[in-house]
Symmetry: C2
Subunit: 290 residues, 2 copies
C-alpha cells in the first residue's frame, strides 16, 4: 500500500482492457480512490456488457496509435494493461501498427516468449511518455494473500507437491515458459508452455478421462508462480473461479499460488466454488512449501 500516494495520485487512468472481470475490479478500485477511469476496450477480448458502465472506446490490439491518442486526449498519464489475452498472431497485429517504423521492433518482440513480447510493449508505451503501472499498484486488493481461501486446506502430501511445483517453476523461469505446473504425489503431470493454464487443465482432464494419464481423484495441485524475468506490471499470474472449476474437473486436490504475486479475480466466487468442490485454494510465501 506504500505506493498509494504515488500510484493512486491524481489524474485520470487509462485502462487497456482485455478479457475477464479483472479490468472492472481495477476500474472500480481506482474510482473508489477518487480517480477517473477510461477504458480502451480490446475488441474480441473485453466484456461488451460490462464495458458500457464506464467511459470507453473500442479498439484493437495493434492500434497503439489509437490507444495513445485515446489516453492523451483524456489527460491520462498513467496506463494499466489488465485482463486475459491470448497471444495474438503477428498478422493480426500487423495491419494496425501505428507506423511502419514499428515493424522491426514488433518483429523482434514476437521472437521468443511472452515475457519478451510484453516487455517490448511496456517499453513502447513508456517511450510515448506514459507511465505503465501494474494493476495491483492501482488495486492491491486484487492480489492473493497468504493462506487459504475457502474451507479446505492442503494436507502433508499436497504441501510436498506444492514445494515440488514451486521448485520446478523456479528452475524453468529463466526460459520464459508458462507459469503453471500440476504435480500429483510428487509426479509432474503437466507443465504449461504456450497454451495457458485453462487449456493445460482441459488437456489434462482429457488425458485422465481417456486413461492416458492416471492419478487418484483428489490428488494433485495446480501450482502457479511468476516467471523470473517477468514484468510484473503487465503479466502477474492470475486465477479465478474458472481456474478452480477446471482444477476440480481435472480431479485435483487444490490450487496453490504465490501470495502477493498472483492476481485473484472474483475472490468471493473462488471461495464458493472451492467450498462446493472441496478444493483448497491457497496463497503460499514464495519459496515456501505451503
Amino acid at each position: 500500500m506504500k505506493q498509494s500516494a504515488e500510484s493512486r495520485g491524481d489524474g485520470p487512468l487509462a485502462i487497456f482492457c482485455a478479457g475477464g472481470n479483472l479490468p472492472f475490479e481495477v476500474a472500480d478500485a481506482a474510482r473508489r480512490t477518487g480517480r477517473q477511469v477510461f477504458l480502451y476496450a480490446l475488441r474480441g477480448f473485453a466484456d461488451a456488457t460490462k464495458v458500457q458502465d464506464y467511459p470507453h472506446q473500442w479498439g484493437s490490439l495493434g492500434q497503439f496509435g489509437r490507444f495513445y491518442r485515446f489516453a492523451r486526449n483524456r489527460g491520462c498519464k498513467d496506463v494499466v494493461f489488465i485482463g486475459t489475452l491470448t497471444r495474438p498472431s503477428f498478422w493480426r497485429v500487423w495491419p494496425d501498427l501505428k507506423a511502419l517504423r514499428l515493424l522491426p521492433r514488433m518483429l523482434a518482440a514476437f521472437r521468443g516468449g511472452d515475457n519478451h513480447l510484453l516487455s517490448a510493449i511496456a517499453r513502447m508505451v513508456e517511450e510515448h511518455g506514459f507511465r505503465m503501472l501494474g494493476a495491483h499498484e492501482i488495486a492491491p486488493e486484487i492480489l492473493m494473500q497468504e493462506g487459504p481461501i475457502g474451507r479446505a486446506t492442503a494436507c502433508e502430501r499436497d504441501s510436498v507437491d506444492i514445494a515440488c511445483g514451486l521448485a520446478l517453476l523456479r528452475s524453468i523461469g529463466a526460459f520464459d515458459v508458462g507459469q503453471a505446473v500440476v504435480v500429483a504425489d510428487s509426479r509432474v503431470l503437466a507443465v504449461e508452455a504456450a497454451e495457458g493454464t485453462d487449456r493445460m487443465l482441459a488437456h489434462l482432464t482429457d488425458l485422465r478421462r481417456s486413461g492416458a494419464v492416471k492419478w487418484p481423484t483428489g490428488t494433485g495441485v495446480l501450482v502457479k508462480a511468476p516467471k523470473a524475468g517477468q514484468d510484473r506490471r503487465i503479466d502477474l499470474p492470475s486465477i479465478g473461479p474458472r481456474t478452480v472449476e477446471m482444477a476440480h474437473m481435472a480431479g485435483l486436490a487444490g490450487v496453490a499460488v504465490v501470495a502477493r504475486e498472483t492476481v485473484i479475480a472474483e475472490p468471493q466466487a473462488v471461495a464458493e466454488i472451492a467450498d462446493r468442490t472441496n478444493l483448497f485454494v491457497i496463497g503460499v510465501a514464495a519459496g515456501e512449501a505451503g
Copy 2:
C-alpha cells in the same frame, strides 16, 4: 561396442517385450550375435503378430513372478526391458503382484515420476538374481548417431531452438518430468510431462488448428534428451516414424535428439518420412547447439 564381449556373451536373453517394433529389432540383433532370445510378451502392449516369430509367452505387467519363472526356466540370466509402455495405473498392476510383500515397495514406486518407478522395477529384477541390460547394450545399432537422417538439415534458427530446448530439458531433468520440449523461434511451445511425446505433439497440433497457439509452418523443433537421473538401461528417449509424422502434422521444422543416448526405431522409415515431409531429423552431441 566395448560391452559386446560381456553383454553379448553366451546364454539366452529374456526380453520383457512391450509395444512397437524395437523389441524385435533388439531380438534380431541378439540373434545375429548367436544368442537365443525368449520374449515375455506384455499383454495389451506387444505386437501379437510379430511375437509369433519368436519363442514367447504372454503375461501381464504386474506378473513379475511369472516373468521370473519364465526367464529362469529358459536359463536366462540377462534380461532386457524394451518397447513402448504407457504408465500403468496402480490398480492394473496390483492384482497380479507376485506376493503381497511386494505391495509396500510397489506403492512407494508409484509415488513420484517415471524414473522412480522404473528404477524400482530394475532393482527388484536384479534382486532376483538377474542382470538388467539396456537394449542398446544388446543392439547398439538402435541408437541414433550424430548428424542428420534424411536430406533436410537444421538452419541457424533451428539450431538456436535446439540449444534452447536442450538447456530447458537439462534444467528440468532433476524433476523426473518428460523428455521432450518443442521450441519455435526461441519460444517454448510445449513441455512434455506425464502424457508422452506423441500426445504432446497431438495436443500442440490441436492448439495450432484451433488458433489457440500460433506459429508459422516449418518453424519449431521437437527436442528430446534423457533425464538427468534416468536409468538408461530401461528408459532411453526414443523416436520413430510416428514421431516425425506427428512433428510434421504440428507444422514443425524438425526433430533433434541427443546422439548415442536416443533409440531410433525403424531408421529407414524415419528417413523416408523425413524426406517426404522435408523435416530434418538430427542427432546432436549432448550439450551442443546442433
